[in-house]
């Protein structure tokens, strides 16, 4: 046996920064160390390590040197030091640098550094680079080797104490969940063998005769997240059969009955108690909140262009007579809390598989992402134990989405970022995927006799118990006990799956497809075979390594796998197609007509479950819910902050500030369909309200995508929060020229621990807000998902996230030329505000950042909003509108400032002319109120009258004009100037956060 170690360091080349010890990775690490607040941070150089294990020991050194030159390093910019240890020895001591001149580099690093830290991935944590390296080595005819990767950090400048090293290891260099750190001369042993385990088959779990406490203990010990009623139902089901369940059966039930998979709160029985401020109460029983609110809205709107709603992996609407558009948004919160990069990557990877698993497979064309984090500048002493710092979560999540989405070649273009301290221990990561699908491929069916194929990645121990893990609260221990729930993604494997799947779809080689998400095969096969039955031969599934038990294979959430139902006659063609694209496609069983889920491992039967019990047997126990209607506290306005200073503060507020740092890291134009970008205006930095894409090259039809979210209102009034989120999601579409009559919505409820009645109460109210707003605006829901139990427990205290409702929206327009951007276009135009400004500052950013309190959260006059949106759409389509923007967070003042600095065109505004201003006795209320259903429009002088004629029965008025001077000037109700600010200064405030994050 020979173990080769290749260490790659960068060196000078012309054009590289002088002294390439300042490699970008090293600089980034130095910046992270500075962000810990260290006064005397060490200099850092980072090298890449590759361990190549040659079991035969027969590969000669020249071949490894060649590989170092052409594969592992770049001779122009890097050096590579090679050493070898044979038969478990310590190495030949001869570390030689190859691959170009400058060979002294590696030795110099070792000699001059005060410390070095080697960061290795833990056993079982796969780095996709390893598979690529093995492929490259095979092309060089070096076969039969294994590869592991690592990074090495060299520190310069001073000695580091043990406590400093420990802090660096945990906070900067590694994530202990997936990595380990070896300092200085500690032996470095790359973990190659990740197999092990018994490879066991059947294991029975004793339930017969257990009392309640013992049943709960079985659930807790097995991380099943099943409650007592569920455990009792399972016990009695198997008692009736005269046997105990097998481990695989119990796990299947736990996965299928998890909150994550079956939404037992949203579809359960809720006893909802509503208590008025005076004490009067009303108790109602809600039987299936989802059906009563979200689905009811869709039924009532009854839009003919809704092609598939709620029953598939994504909702589908019509693009035209031939194509449909699918849309799904998911959350991946708990994994992202523990391992932000991997958690977010698998989050986007998972929702893309929902697109691939919709109908017979949709082609993903856009990703969306919305994140909620703790404040990025949170002082370290406010960080609860067990939580990662929000800045680290932010950077990790953005990188995870970036690397997965960019590698898949899907533009990530629409999103939002929200910050609140209650997200510190429990960040929210929403990932969305939009796809395009032929309308004749939307329906799928499974027939008995169809073969079950698994397409794509191999099965390993990654992600065991993800579904049940996401259904419980996080604690400070979560990062320790749940490391198995962290999945590792490989975007390239998923891209290969996409390439095969869509070709197979177009040849109709399969009849149904779904993705392996939470619950792995158990959910995918259990769901596809629910109406007929299935027989699975678990030992046929291709494994990443040996030793997995039957149950592990069955519930593994290893990524990048799709399950297909394939008519036997098509099997050969499918296998040949997959082979031509280098993708594994393996026959693991068949669908049957037995109504049973039969699992085999070799000859042994490890499970035999009735599909009926699996899908219908879960007991529904009423859940308590209470909503205490809060008395509206009178508004207490900020004192001592002038409107100009307030505007600067608001523009710099994290929820409002530029997201350019995030947006530019995503490829938002790949596929060449982007016709309205997220960053708008001549400086390409204005915050667009929506993005648009033309899904076909032979048509100018466009889809317009946006979202709405307002956690700030949720504390005051969850019903109004929901109205606001829906209104915002629709008006963002309208602001870009989208058709409000063709808007479809998606709901994502991320809530605290709904086992607490008062938290569930808010959810019920918000769901009703969604229903009313969707019906009122004529915008149906087509898909949704909830993520409950977002509670973080630390130091005996439970921190629940704010009620967080994300509404995503998508619209279709006939002609992309009807789109409009938000940047002001030219001086000399009128600014028209449509919609009424009310004194609605409860939950506003103005109060939050400038020190106000109380007040009412904004409501929505639904019939009026619907008419208003239709008229704005008409005006835009008629070519009357030069730019449009949506006043939302920060109100009218922020909206006009954004339009002005995005367009490099000045603006003047008069508070007295704002519709509704007469009823308000304060300028700041007019400027910063976040009233819904308003749009600010830029209109050329000759179009002012035609535009206003469209709004004779609605609040609308000319409130200002665009000017040559690059300033924003606002007059108060009495005509005096209350804001007079330079546009560049305003833009600088707005960009401060993004520029800070860049460092």
């Amino acid at each position: 046996m020979a173990l080769w170690t290749l260490e790659v360091a960068s060196r000078d080349a012309l054009g590289a920064p002088a002294g390439s010890g300042r490699d970008p990775r090293g600089r980034a690490v130095e910046a992270e160390i500075r962000s810990l607040g260290w006064r005397d941070p060490p200099g850092v150089v980072v090298t890449a390590l590759y361990f190549v294990r040659d079991p035969s020991g027969a590969v000669p050194r020249e071949r490894i040197e060649e590989a170092a030159r052409v594969l592992f390093s770049d001779p122009v910019t890097q050096t590579c030091a090679i050493s070898v240890a044979r038969d478990g020895g310590q190495g030949d001591g001869a570390q030689e640098d190859v691959a170009g001149s400058g060979g002294e580099r590696g030795a110099a690093l070792r000699e001059t550094a005060s410390h070095r830290a080697t960061v290795l991935k833990r056993a079982g944590v796969m780095d996709p680079v390893e598979a690529s390296a093995i492929r490259g080595l095979a092309d060089l005819e070096i076969e039969g080797v294994e590869v592991r990767t690592a990074e090495r950090f060299y520190f310069f400048g001073r000695e580091l104490g043990a406590d400093e090293r420990e802090m660096l290891a945990a906070k900067v260099l590694s994530n202990p969940v997936i990595e380990e750190v070896c300092w200085d001369d500690e032996p470095v042993a790359p973990p190659f063998a990740v197999g092990g385990g018994s490879g066991a088959g059947r294991r029975d779990v004793r339930l017969a005769g257990l009392d309640d406490a013992a049943l709960l203990e079985v659930s807790r010990q097995g991380q099943l997240s099943l409650n007592l009623e569920e455990m009792r139902a399972i016990e009695s089901h198997f008692a009736g059969l005269g046997r105990d369940p097998t481990e695989a059966e119990l796990e299947t039930l736990a996965q299928t009955w998890s909150e994550h998979c079956c939404h037992k709160t949203f579809t359960g029985l809720i006893e909802h108690r509503r208590v008025e401020p005076g004490g009067a109460e009303k108790v109602e029983r809600v039987d299936n909140l989802l059906r009563e609110t979200i689905r009811r809205a869709t039924d009532e709107v009854a839009a003919p262009w809704c092609l598939s709603v709620f029953h598939d992996n994504a909702g589908v609407i019509a693009l035209d007579d031939e194509l449909g558009i699918s849309f799904k948004v998911e959350t991946h919160n708990h994994p992202s809390a523990i391992e932000p990069y991997g958690g977010a990557g698998t989050g986007i990877g998972g929702v893309i598989r929902d697109t691939l698993g919709t109908g017979l497979g949709a082609r993903p064309i856009v990703n969306t992402d919305v994140f909620c984090f703790g404040p990025p500048d949170l002082p370290w002493d406010r960080l609860p134990p067990g939580a990662l710092h929000p800045l680290r979560v932010l950077r990790g999540v953005v990188s995870g989405v970036r690397d997965y989405g960019n590698r898949m070649g899907i533009p990530t273009a629409s999103g939002a970022l929200y910050f609140d301290e209650r997200y510190v221990g429990n960040p929210l990561v929403f990932c969305g995927s939009v796809g395009v699908i032929p309308r004749d491929a939307i329906e799928k069916e499974v027939r008995p006799g169809d073969r079950i194929y698994v397409l794509g990645g191999r099965t390993g121990r990654d992600g065991i118990h993800g579904a049940t893990f996401s259904s419980v609260e996080l604690t400070e221990e979560s990062e320790v006990v749940s490391s198995g729930a962290v999945q590792i993604g490989n975007a390239i494997t998923e891209k290969k799956v996409l390439d095969v799947l869509l070709q197979a779809r177009d040849r109709r080689l399969f009849r149904a497809v779904t993705d392996c998400g939470a619950g792995g095969f158990s959910s995918a096969v259990g769901e596809m075979g629910s109406d007929c039955g299935a027989r699975v031969q678990l030992d046929r599934a291709p494994l990443k390594y040996q030793g997995l038990s039957a149950t592990e294979i069955w519930i593994s959430e290893a990524q990048e796998r799709m399950v297909l139902a394939v008519p036997p006659g098509n099997a050969d063609e499918l296998e040949a197609l997959a082979r031509a694209e280098d993708v594994e496609c393996v026959f693991i069983g068949e669908f049957t007509d037995t109504g049973r889920l039969a699992l085999f491992h070799g000859e042994e039967q490890v499970g035999d479950l009735s599909m009926e019990f699996l899908h219908e047997g879960r007991p529904r126990t009423p859940i308590a819910s209470v909503y205490r209607v809060p008395a509206v506290e009178p508004a207490r306005y900020p004192a001592g902050v002038g409107p100009g200073a307030a505007l600067h503060a608001l523009l710099a507020a994290p929820n409002i500030a530029s997201k350019e740092w995030v947006i530019r890291q995503y490829d938002h134009e790949v596929q060449g369909q982007s016709v309205l970008k997220p960053l708008q205006g001549p400086g390409r930095d204005g915050p667009g309200d929506a993005v648009a894409f033309t899904p076909r090259v032979d048509s100018d039809r466009a889809i317009v995508i946006a979202c709405g979210m307002n956690p700030c209102y949720g504390d005051l009034d969850p019903y109004r929060m929901a109205l606001s989120a829906v209104d915002e999601a629709v008006r963002n579409i309208v602001a870009a020229g989208g058709d409000p009559g063709r808007v479809a919505l998606l709901d994502n409820f991320a809530w605290g621990n709904t086992r607490r009645p008062e938290i569930l109460g808010g959810l019920v109210e918000a769901a009703r807000g969604c229903r009313d707003a969707a019906i009122g605006l004529g915008a149906p829901f087509i898909s949704g998902k909830d993520s409950l139990n977002n509670e973080f427990q630390a130091g005996g205290e439970a921190i629940n996230i704010p009620p967080s409702l994300l509404i995503s929206s998508i619209s279709v327009i006939d002609d992309a030329h009807g789109l409009v951007s938000m940047d002001l276009k030219a001086a000399g135009n009128a600014l028209i505000l449509v919609g009424e400004t009310l004194e609605e500052l409860g939950g506003s950013h103005y109060f939050r950042h400038c020190g106000g309190r109380g007040g009412q959260a904004p409501g929505v006059d639904l019939p009026r909003a619907r008419r208003l949106f239709a008229r704005v759409f008409g005006a835009i389509r008629g070519g009357l509108i030069a730019s449009a923007h949506d006043p939302s967070e920060g109100g009218l003042a922020v909206a006009v400032a954004e339009m002005a600095f995005a367009g490099r065109v000045g603006a003047e505004l008069a508070c007295a002319d704002v519709p509704g201003a007469r009823a308000i006795d304060r300028d700041d209320a007019v400027l910063f109120s976040e009233s819904n259903s308003r749009l600010l429009l830029e209109v050329r002088p000759e179009h002012v009258d035609p535009v206003l004629e469209g709004f004779t029965d609605l609040p609308a008025a000319v409130v200002g004009r665009t000017i040559e001077e690059r300033r924003l000037r606002v007059r108060g109700r009495d005509g005096s100037v209350v804001i007079d600010e330079d546009l560049d200064d305003l833009r600088r405030s707005w960009k401060r956060l993004s520029e800070w994050l860049v460092q």
Binding site: G15, P24, D139, R664, K677
Partner: protein, 261 residues
Amino acid sequence: MTCRALVLRTAGTNCDLETAHALELAGAVAERVHVRALLDGGRRLDEFQILVLPGGFAYGDDLGAGTVLANQLRTRLRDALERFVADGRQVIGICNGFQVLVRLGVLPGAPGGIGEKEVSLVENESGRFEDRWVRLRAETSKCDLLERGEILEMPVAHAEGRLVVRDAELLEQLRENDQIALRYVDSDNDAGGGADPGYPANPNGSVDAIAGLTSPCGNVLGLMPHPERNLRALHHPEWTRRRVAGTTRDDWRLGDGYRIF
């Protein structure tokens, strides 16, 4: 005669559809072919007049952008590729494709075809992936796909696009050979000859603001920006402004990027 273009794809290629569309707009018959079909001998390079290596992340860009695919082409298709280049057929590498050509030594290349690896496309000076529109000036008169002095706008979207060269001598040689195909410029330097405009006009810190290279004979072009993403007015980030100003006319083939195809 119809011109046949091969758009090479492999695991992680992701700009193949829009690149094929651009070639079709330009009148070629474009076929997206998996590298495996070439390696297995099922398809041959010499069936085609144009070879395009489109953007993406071939094999995840693991071990450095373009490395694994370049290694595969060098070890298993070197002769066919060398003949293709030496015959004077057209090769275009866009973004990841440019990275592959550089890693292979097809660019800057040698008069006979494939040369040594002498330049690299390394991590951006900013240390981050960035998607942003850039302004390019065609600098060479060697390459049929470009007209010296023309200004082209299109986006870049990459993390590893900073061109570095082995040494100053090589850079001088590239200039003398007229192999610098495209440079990043800012809007006051359309006439050329100016200094490196610096970030963000030069989005990655490339030496001499080089955005693209051509081979000694001019038949190979590699560039980091994406011409296939600016084929029509609607692709441009400022089309809504131009419409208001009355200066927009939208049709396929009217985007700057089309001129490359």
